[in-house]
């Protein structure tokens, strides 16, 4: 009898504890200004761009100090840092990282949560890539352009190079050739068509000028006689 009573109490305590901790954790999570979405990090992995180009994983690459000491933002900060001076670079994607880092800005100004479709944020600049991804010619584990080593997806004008490392973290590993051959632009367009005055025209004209000179001479010389 006491055994059952003790089990019932334990069960009730357990239930109380789990509910309470769930509440507490939720409250905690809700209370924390959700920067970098620690709770949501796992979900980002399922989003298309981030499957190869992780955004919030791995060691911080740049020497930049992130708010709240966040160490998980690895979106090639070295490159995206160029988007602006100081915190302006962060503001290109984030809507106020210090106060509201959990919201990201889309192309038309609407805000999405970082748990939303982050690829749409990548679309802001990399619209061609997004289009190609949607069409199936970029990523999707298809080495269509890269395995032949012809195309460098990050500096596409340059060929005969193995593709470069995209971002730190998951995704393809590529190698860089020591020497990159530049893409060969086509030749200058054709020059203006040449002028072809027929030779006989020159002959006729010369004859005419000679005759005219003769007549003119006669006119002038004839005058001086008088």
């Amino acid at each position: 009898m006491g055994h059952r009573i003790r089990a019932g109490r334990v069960r009730r305590l357990l239930a109380l504890f789990s509910v309470g901790s769930a509440v507490a954790v939720s409250v905690m999570l809700a209370a924390i200004p959700a920067f970098a979405g620690q709770a949501a990090t796992g979900e980002l992995f399922f989003y298309p761009c981030t499957s190869c180009h992780p955004v919030a994983e791995g060691a911080v690459q740049s020497g930049r100090k992130l708010p709240n000491d966040f160490k998980g933002h690895a979106i090639a900060l070295a490159k995206h840092d160029e988007l602006g001076q100081g915190s302006a670079a962060c503001l290109v994607c984030h809507d106020g990282p210090a106060k509201n880092p959990g919201k990201l800005k889309l192309i038309d100004g609407t805000l999405i949560d970082i748990t939303g479709d982050v690829s749409l944020v990548c679309f802001r600049c990399h619209s061609a890539k997004y289009r190609e991804w949607k069409a199936g010619t970029h990523g999707r584990r298809m080495p269509k352009c890269t395995s032949a080593g012809c195309h460098d997806p990050h500096t596409p004008g340059w060929i005969y190079a193995r593709p470069l490392l995209p971002f730190v973290g998951g995704g393809f590993q590529f190698q860089v050739l020591s020497v990159r051959q530049p893409f060969m632009p086509l030749a200058s367009p054709s020059p203006a068509p040449p002028t072809h005055v027929p030779t006989w025209f020159y002959a006729v004209a010369a004859l005419g000028v000679a005759v005219a000179a003769g007549i003119a001479g006669k006119l002038i010389l004839g005058r001086s006689k008088r």
Binding site: P193, P198, Y202, A212, I215, L219, G222
Partner: protein, 410 residues
């Protein structure tokens, strides 16, 4: 002698013309034939035989268009001043001036027509004209002006309508001449894509160059008429003409200096303009641009020297220099629009091809043939009271002894 449209056409004078007259006509005929051959080549082969290309789409024909329009209207200023400003000393030149104006405008229009590879498409000018195109205004103005000049010549010769009609014609013709020049200048100046042309001073420059070159040509023409026909003018008329010429010449040269100063002055210079204009002093069009200054200022200098300016030789030289100077001015003006294309790239030197040159010479000789014929066939002498003679007008040149005198003079 036939009477037609109220004028006595003296074809008989042609029969009595001297061999020298026909030598001159055959000289012109040679160039006319060459011009015809050149035109057929242009017609058949199009752009293959000319040196114009995308980088300089307008060539010698356009230079000639601007030049002849200028010469035409300039002469009319002299004629108009007879009625408008009471400059009676120029009355004797009336018919000659109007003839010159009409024929030169015809030559300008011929330049456009021969450049078009499908001249019959001119009909679209009438069917769907575009009111914002300066080209339309200048073309229609030139056409209208030519008709106006020939009507004016008819009025002067027949004396119909008397002084009143002659005055009315002047009042129409002079503003029309100014309108024609303004629109020709607009074809150049209303182009924001061509820096050196896009200047308001283009219009006054056109007006003054035109008047100066037209008066200069009229002076030369008057001397030639005096030397080759029985028509005689007062020396005072030539002095007045050269004074007028000198005045307009110096205004023209002044405006040119103003334009160049504005382009190079530090507070107003813009790199696009200075780069382009500097090329005209030192680059491959300098041969066309520098003579404008040399010939222009020399001509003015010749005409301003009190002791010598009454001499026919001096007047003729100065007028001849200025006529050539304005031709070079028009040539370099066209080149100024095209020396760099709208992408800022240097274009090569444009020099007209043989076909273009002979076509232009052919057109010029056509005009000279018309004028030479007119001097014989039409009564070109204007007496002081010509407008009072009514039906009798024009017989002064056709009395038998006058014809004989013409024959021996020629």
């Amino acid at each position: 002698m036939k009477r037609f449209i109220g004028i006595e056409w003296d074809f008989g004078a042609l029969k009595e013309a001297s061999p020298r007259y026909w030598l001159w006509m055959s000289l012109l005929g040679v160039f006319l034939v060459l011009g015809g051959v050149a035109w057929t080549q242009l017609f058949l082969h199009g752009g293959n035989v000319i040196n114009m290309r995308d980088n300089y789409p307008w060539g010698l024909w356009f230079v000639d268009y601007m030049y002849y329009i200028g010469l035409a209207a300039g002469g009319l200023v002299v004629y108009a001043s007879v009625h408008l400003f009471g400059a009676k000393q120029f009355t004797a030149l009336s018919r000659i001036a109007v003839l010159q104006a009409g024929v030169l405008t015809m030559l300008a229009l011929l330049g456009i027509i021969t450049d078009m590879e499908r001249p019959w498409r001119m009909v679209w000018f009438m069917l769907t004209p575009n009111p914002t195109a300066p080209f339309l205004y200048t073309g229609s103005a030139a056409g209208g002006y030519m008709v106006l000049c020939f009507i004016d010549l008819w009025v002067l010769i027949t004396g119909k309508g008397g002084e009143k009609l002659a005055m009315t014609m002047t009042l129409i013709a002079l503003p029309f001449a100014i309108y024609m020049h303004t629109t020709t200048a607009f074809v150049l100046s209303m182009n924001k894509s061509r820096e050196l042309w896009h200047s308001a001073v283009m219009v006054p420059i056109f007006l003054t160059s035109a008047t100066a070159s037209g008066v200069a040509l009229l002076l030369i023409f008057a001397y030639i008429v005096q030397a080759t026909t029985h028509i005689k003018f007062e020396p005072s008329m030539f002095r007045s003409l050269s004074t007028l010429l000198a005045t307009v010449m110096i205004i023209d040269l002044f405006l040119l200096v103003v334009e160049i100063l504005s382009i190079f002055w530090p507070t107003s210079s813009m790199p696009g303009h200075t780069v382009r204009m500097a090329e005209f002093f030192t680059g491959h069009y300098a041969w066309a641009f520098l003579p404008v200054f040399v010939l222009g200022f020399s001509a003015f200098f010749l005409l301003s020297r009190r002791p010598t300016r009454h001499l026919p030789a001096v007047q003729l030289t100065a007028a001849g220099m200025y006529v050539v100077a304005v031709f070079f001015k028009r040539y370099s003006l066209m080149a100024m629009g095209f020396s760099r294309n709208t992408l800022g790239q240097l274009t090569g030197l444009y020099f007209p091809s043989a076909v273009e040159v002979f076509l232009a010479l052919g057109i010029l000789s056509f005009g000279l043939i018309l004028i030479t014929l007119a001097l014989k066939v039409l009564p070109m002498e204007t007496s002081e009271h010509a407008h009072d003679e009514g039906d009798e007008a024009g017989h002064a040149a056709t009395t038998p002894d006058a014809v004989v005198a013409e024959g021996s003079a020629l």
